[in-house]
Amino acid sequence: MTDFEDTLVVVPVGALGAGIDPEHVEAGLTQGAHAIALDAGSTDSGPSCLATGVSKYSREAVKSDLRVLMAARAKYGVPLLIGTCGTAGGDAGVAWTLNIAQEVAAELGQNPRIATLHSELSREQVLAKLEGGKVLPLAPLGPLDAATIERCEHIVALMGPEPYIAALKDGADIVLGGRTTDTAVIAAVPLMRGAGAGAAWHAGKISECGGLCTADPTDGGVLIKVGREAFEVWPLSSQNRCDVYSVSSHMLYENSDPFILTEPGGVLDVTHARYEAIGERGVRVTGSQFLPRPYTMKLEGAALGPFQTLMWVGIADPAVLAVVDGFVATLHAALVERVRKVMGLTPDAFDISLRPYGWNAVSGLPAAEGTPPPREIGLMFVATAETQDLATRIARTCNPYFFHFPVRRGKELPSYGFPFSPAEVERGRAYEFVLNHVVATQDGMELVRRDMIDSPIPEIA
């Protein structure tokens, strides 16, 4: 990397709100970094964040990290880019994060230009795209139908780097983006400054989870240095290091294919990438390719599901633990029968799930033949129904059986250990991811709405 100036980006953490050490950020910025970039969400925590617009992290956790990053940004005069604000990256998540950023700005006495990028789509927009033949399925789902779109509470499209670059060219100091691919947020500034597309996208993928590509993932994020043909990855913490293995194996993470990654507007192909150590702590990567493709954005959509009410018992009685599978099956049949008889519900109106933690609740698969009895189990009861009220009435109807079901008929009635009074917990709604499709667009801007907030200092009550 000689005549061309590399683009340096600080990626302080895998997700805004997870905790950022100011010293690590400072360490990256003193090396001449051109930007700070990171994301604030993913689909990892399930569909509720998209369906409800509520962040998985607390306001305090996000504010604490934003304060560190906004103070550092102002001190060094570099832009701060944050993708997928508010966990799901819907309009609500962007607005929530903007509100926190404005509060931090006021407290720090700053007046940054903040751009917001929105990629939430209305059902009508997606229906129109569907009718135009612009929506294509990704495995394992089939073609999209209008009814599925109608079910969605919120739909977002994953942005590429173009809206971030446009916002920076408009003079933004801080860019708060809705749903974006993790890679695109990090690749944006290198791409804007003319770095190689293969190097920029690959560097974005390697650093998307902050320090996860380092030897000690608990010790801070990374600094990437992106050139025309190559990029380097360095840990922000002086105690940490990157090695060829820690960097190259990150391509396996959360990917179904470790060599090919589809992004908005192209495909990252790292089949021929070469990784080499730079001294004890850095890694240099060459040979990454980005192959342009017609522009597509991945869609995510979350629908409302049924309501659930929970009950728990702890069971330590060896007589039950010797026959967990049989006990659970007999109890389940008795509970279903009782709800049908007492409440007059048909089987399709409710579901009861019993999950013996300490036995096979996590996998749901039968325990291997010959597995010794556990010392105790936690048995979770989940009633699922169309309303919270109905789910709770089902739980209360099951109450006497669930807490006192004998291991054999004709025996004295036991009492299992239940921890709460009242015994049931209303857990609210379930939600459901229903889209796994891409939408074809003219370019990276067509479906994106942009705003610029110039004077963000609000009145603080």
Partner: protein
């Protein structure tokens, strides 16, 4: 016959988007990988059987440079729905530890 848990350095599973789970088997060296890669116990059919997946649903990618075998398979239900048991899919590798290779 050895079990996967005695041969692999590390086995993990994780959601790869809301509709897929991916499993990575890390072998301790290229040599161990080379000896193990063709074992019947590591064929996609064996993985499908151990995890009770639909036949033909699992894909396998070999990464010899990292001494890794990677699988991906679709979830029975989309991540995080009403009947979820393992949101991140992070515990789904466990039945594979007992595979004989």
């Amino acid at each position: 016959m050895a079990k996967l848990k005695d041969v692999a350095r590390y086995v993990r599973s994780k959601a790869a988007g809301p509709f897929w789970i991916t499993v990575d088997i890390f072998f301790p060296s290229r040599d161990v990988y080379d000896i193990s890669r063709d074992a019947a116990g590591l064929a996609t059919t064996a993985i499908e059987q151990a995890l009770r997946l639909d036949p033909g649903s699992a894909k396998r990618v070999d990464v010899p440079d990292l001494a890794v075998i990677k699988y991906a398979y679709p979830r029975r239900h989309a991540q995080g729905g009403a009947f979820e048991r393992d949101m991140h899919g992070g515990q789904q590798f466990v039945p594979l530890l007992e595979l004989e290779i």
